[in-house]
């Protein structure tokens, strides 16, 4: 398949500038329509633009590098496979995060069912713990950072999957309530409720951290 290497997109944040955002929506939908017509270069462009945010979202959701990569592959595979019937009825990124959160939530639920908590914060061979040392820190600072990281991981792990997804989109993707609601297929008030409960849990567990 003759995929070309596109130019990288500078930023993976959701664009808050309305004009740029509108242009972006049109561009994504336009690219997807071209993918529908068989243009694989457009798919490569979409992949280049959204690969990083999708993998990062999934990584923070499942806290396992290998799993997040697999799920991200599945997300883009599903997008590609759905191309023939694609209609630009909604913002592309919302659809993308809808698929991603659906996959991650299902994975977390399956995993929660199948294991009796072999804790995710323990480093293991399957890529669970990939946080590398920050070489700019002293040994002591690095130890503190690792301790904080472990606490944050445990706190996030304590969140039910849907609350976790809402926080990940709110905190790291800077998505608004309406967009999160669409991605999670619920109402805005449900999203607020998910977020309030999630942050309440996080405050109880992490607020002592300075």
């Amino acid at each position: 398949m003759p995929f070309l290497t596109p130019q990288p997109f500078p930023d993976d944040r959701v664009d808050t500038d309305m004009t740029a955002a509108a242009a972006c929506i049109e561009r994504d939908a336009d690219l997807m329509l071209r993918v529908r017509e068989g243009d694989d270069v457009s798919f490569a462009l979409l992949l280049e633009k959204h690969r990083r945010p999708v993998i990062h979202f999934l990584y923070r959701m499942v806290q396992n590098q290998a799993v997040s990569e697999e799920l991200a592959q599945e997300v883009f595979l599903r997008v590609y496979k759905a191309r023939l019937s694609y209609e630009p009825t909604a913002k592309f990124t919302t659809w993308l995060f809808r698929i991603a959160s659906h996959l991650a939530i299902n994975w977390l639920r399956d995993r929660r069912n199948e294991r009796s908590q072999d804790s995710l914060d323990q480093p293991n061979a399957d890529g669970t713990h990939v946080q590398v040392a920050d070489t700019s820190l002293t040994r002591e600072e690095e130890m503190i950072r690792q301790t904080r990281l472990a606490e944050v991981r445990r706190a996030i792990e304590a969140l039910p999957p849907k609350q976790r997804a809402a926080v990940m989109m709110h905190k790291y993707r800077e998505m608004g309530y309406a967009q999160i609601a669409k991605a999670l297929n619920c109402s805005e008030s449900a999203v607020k409720s998910l977020l309030f409960r999630a942050y309440e849990t996080l405050r109880a567990r992490l607020a002592h951290m300075v």
Binding site: E69, F76, K81, S85, R145
Partner: protein, 171 residues
């Protein structure tokens, strides 16, 4: 003289303010009004301080580098899926199909076929028609793939429909 804001800690809708405050999403006037309230309300001051600490604590969770072979692997998967018609993947899985497993399945299929024939009204069932032209597209997808594509497209269509309160409060 501006009226003082009602205590956000005592109002469920006020929870939103703590989130916007910690995320730095308030307008200058909202921010000023909120801080005036914080200065006078210990409960809100505590929640706001905690939410700010949580907000910055979460920054520690960095995401990993993207593997360089990500696209390559994806394209390989796409190519493999596009290339293999559904019956081929069935055959592929069938390679590891043991006779002991296959026999009861075959028996069940045969029984089902007999039942179907017996239930079919006369005249006898028409012979299977050659596949229509559209089958060239469908042929590329196995039944589970078709179902999954429909699910993914449903997700897209649902985005345009208003979300219901029915999904409220699930966590």
């Amino acid at each position: 003289m501006e009226t003082p804001m009602s205590c956000p800690a005592k109002d469920r809708r006020g929870s939103e303010l703590f989130l916007s405050y910690a995320a730095g999403l308030m307008s200058a006037s909202e921010h000023a009004a909120f801080e005036r309230h914080l200065a006078a309300c210990t409960d809100c001051w505590r929640i706001a301080a905690e939410q700010k600490r949580v907000w910055s604590a979460l920054d520690v969770l960095a995401a990993p580098e993207i593997p360089t072979n990500f696209d390559e692997r994806l394209y390989a998967r796409i190519a493999a899926e596009e290339r293999s018609p559904w019956w081929q993947s069935l055959l592929h899985h069938g390679a590891s199909f043991r006779l002991s497993t296959a026999a009861p399945v075959a028996a069940a299929c045969a029984a089902l076929a007999v039942m179907l024939i017996m239930r079919t009204p006369h005249p006898a069932p028409a012979p299977v028609q050659p596949a229509p032209a559209t089958a060239t597209v469908n042929q590329k997808l196995d039944p589970s793939q078709i179902e999954q594509n429909l699910d993914d497209l449903d997700m897209l269509r649902q985005l345009t429909a208003p979300a219901t309160e029915a999904s409220n409060g699930q966590s």
